[in-house]
């Protein structure tokens, strides 16, 4: 008899656990749906042609949009990628092709460490290094964003290259192709898709960063005015407008958030679709 009671007790625990597990799943997903819903609902009314064409309005002014922010964001991300992608790529290549080298072991370890450093600290670093000499500028922001990009690009490139089968490399070397040529032409080409998805993902990541942008560029309401000046930034604008009390700015915050989310999630989803396992 006791055995049956104990068994029932265990069953109850099992059902309870199952319930809690599914509950936690639901609870965790609610914010996702809430965020997506709210951003779309509140942002869609601000999005119109005006939004993509006009710069930031003054408070209480009708119309106006995020055109300068979109321009500024594109330029900043572009510059950051120009710095971050080559470094990340070459580092990833080195880590995968010479992976037993002592340097590789150390760099791999510290690369993961770098990816864990808060973006605001990286922003302060860029502030100390660049803003103190050149001033608040696109360069400073791009530098900070590049540092944030590098660990992701490095890691994904390394993993991508590691997946290329050894036989490919052996075949090339057997044909007398120098090692560096095999890596650049054959191995890299074989891992093209994975490497590019890694790059795209890191671009998505930095387009949403606003903390490092805040301390390296600050808020800018005009069009792009040179790399040594600040530029408008979509993510930062969401912050500045969201904490303001002006209704037209708050509406712009939602609109900008919508564009940002479409961009970021769009890249993420596209990447996931393209890295689907094909039979």
């Amino acid at each position: 008899m006791r055995k049956m009671d104990y068994y029932r007790f265990r069953l109850i625990k099992d059902y309870a656990a199952r319930f809690i597990v599914y509950l936690s799943l639901t609870v965790a997903l609610i914010p996702l749906f809430s965020i997506l819903y709210e951003v779309v609902q509140k942002g869609i009314s601000t999005i119109n042609i005006d939004f993509f064409v006009n710069p930031t309005p003054t408070v209480g002014e009708k119309g106006g949009g995020a055109a300068n922010a979109i321009q500024g964001t594109l330029i900043t991300i572009g510059l950051a990628s120009l710095i971050g992608i080559p470094i990340g790529l070459m580092s990833g290549v080195f880590l995968s092709e010479y992976s037993e080298h002592k340097l590789s072991v150390i760099v791999r370890f510290f690369n993961d460490v770098l990816s864990g450093i808060p973006s605001i600290v990286i922003g302060v670093f860029a502030y100390a290094l660049i803003v103190r000499s050149i001033g608040f500028s696109v360069i400073a922001a791009a530098f900070a964003l590049a540092i944030i990009m590098i660990p992701t690009v490095t890691r994904t490139t390394e993993e991508a290259l590691k997946l290329v089968p050894l036989s490919l490399r052996e075949a090339a070397i057997a044909l007398g192709v120098p090692r560096w040529k095999t890596i650049l032409t054959i191995v890299l080409r074989g891992a093209k898709k994975a490497v590019i998805t890694g790059i795209l993902l890191s671009i998505a990541k930095i387009s949403g960063e606003s903390a490092p942008v805040l301390v390296t560029m600050g808020y800018w309401r005009w069009w792009f005015a040179g790399l040594n000046r600040p530029a408008a930034n979509l993510a930062l604008n969401v912050f500045v407008f969201a904490v303001s009390p002006f209704e037209n700015w708050i509406a712009l915050a939602w609109g900008s958030a919508l564009v940002l989310i479409l961009l970021v999630l769009g890249i993420n989803i596209a990447v996931k679709i393209f890295t689907r396992e094909r039979y």
């Binding site: 965790a28 070459m90 949403g208 903390a211 301390v215 969401v238 999630l265």
Partner: protein
């Protein structure tokens, strides 16, 4: 024979081979390796430079306040120009602790759900959704936090919490919607995707043999799950530390909901507070004199130091666990 000529070990490793008495040929491989090594070491250089620059920037503050900075409780840039970071450290620690208290059980649940409970196809879709959560930028969490979460919490949750637990000091006090608890909740939502993905991978990596063994003994699904968790125990701790690191460094979402009030200890969970990253974001642009900037850099240095320690510790645990797992897998 030519090849019997003595070549220094260093040169031979570089595979520079003397072609004749006088001509040396450096192979493309070596250049490539060098370039790769240079780029890779730039990562080390960056970290080193970061530590150097932040320390240099903090020097004035360290000279003025010394280690007392970490215990100082006054932050007065306007009149007495005294800075102290204790409330910030406490604020960061407490909000992260709340985030872990809420987020870790949730992540465990999700990790288990995705590895033990859900059928493969469903699991894939849900993992996908959870990873989307991870991709959402921090400011958007903050925006949602201000206009959706805060009204919801203050109207529907906090009032009831206060009714039920109001006799406990941390639950009594004026409710304005934002504050410590709200900050912790937003942080929890933000760390759940990363932590739960790690846990899911950990649980999936547990060898089938372990599960089969305990099921053979007549275990329920829950008991199997418990075994899985205990097997992956050190990995779970590692994932928790990862979440802690993320919560510590989170800036924008926190500053948008926490109230940004510099005080040593909040009067309740519903009171406003401040964190290390929030004060840097809010005040660096307005720090007009050297000591002010230096104090903020000092805060950044502390934050860097703490996250470095957390990170390195967790990597070392991972390293150790991997060796352990590899050891067992060899069986």
């Amino acid at each position: 024979m030519k090849n019997s000529r003595k070549i220094s070990p260093f040169l031979s490793r570089l595979s520079i081979k003397p072609v004749s008495h006088l001509k040396w040929k450096i192979r493309g491989d070596d250049i490539f390796k060098l370039v790769g090594a240079l780029f890779a070491s730039s990562i080390l250089l960056l970290i080193g430079l970061m530590i150097y620059e932040l320390t240099k920037g903090s020097r004035l503050s360290i000279q003025t306040f010394g280690f007392g900075f970490l215990l100082g409780t006054k932050w007065d840039p306007a009149i007495s120009r005294v800075f102290g970071a204790l409330p910030l450290i406490l604020g960061t620690v407490v909000t992260s602790a709340i985030a872990l208290l809420i987020g870790v059980p949730l992540s465990l649940g999700i990790g288990l759900a995705l590895s033990e409970y859900m059928p493969k196809k469903f699991g894939f879709a849900i993992s996908f959704l959870v990873e989307l959560l991870a991709a959402i930028p921090s400011v958007i969490y903050g925006l949602w936090g201000i206009f959706v979460l805060i009204p919801f919490l203050s109207d529907h949750v906090y009032l009831h919490l206060q009714k039920l637990f109001g006799f406990i000091p941390i639950f009594s006090g004026p409710i304005y919607g934002g504050g410590v608890l709200t900050g912790g909740i937003v942080l929890a939502i933000m760390i759940v995707p990363t932590v739960s993905s790690v846990m899911r991978d950990l649980f999936l990596a547990v060898p089938k043999s372990q599960r089969e063994a305990i099921i053979a003994l007549g275990a329920t699904k829950w008991e199997t799950a418990k075994t899985v968790i205990s097997y992956a125990r050190s990995g779970v701790i590692c994932a928790v530390i990862l979440g802690l690191g993320r919560a510590f460094g989170e800036t924008m979402a926190v500053t948008m909901v926490i109230g940004n009030k510099f005080q040593v200890w909040p009067s309740s969970l519903f009171d406003a507070w401040y964190t290390m990253s929030a004060i840097i974001a809010n005040e660096l642009l307005e720090a007009t004199y050297d000591l002010y900037v230096s104090a903020l850099m000092n805060v950044a240095l502390v934050l860097l130091f703490v996250t470095l320690v957390i990170n390195i510790l967790s990597r070392l645990i991972v390293w150790r666990t991997l060796k352990l797992v590899r050891g067992i897998a060899k069986e």
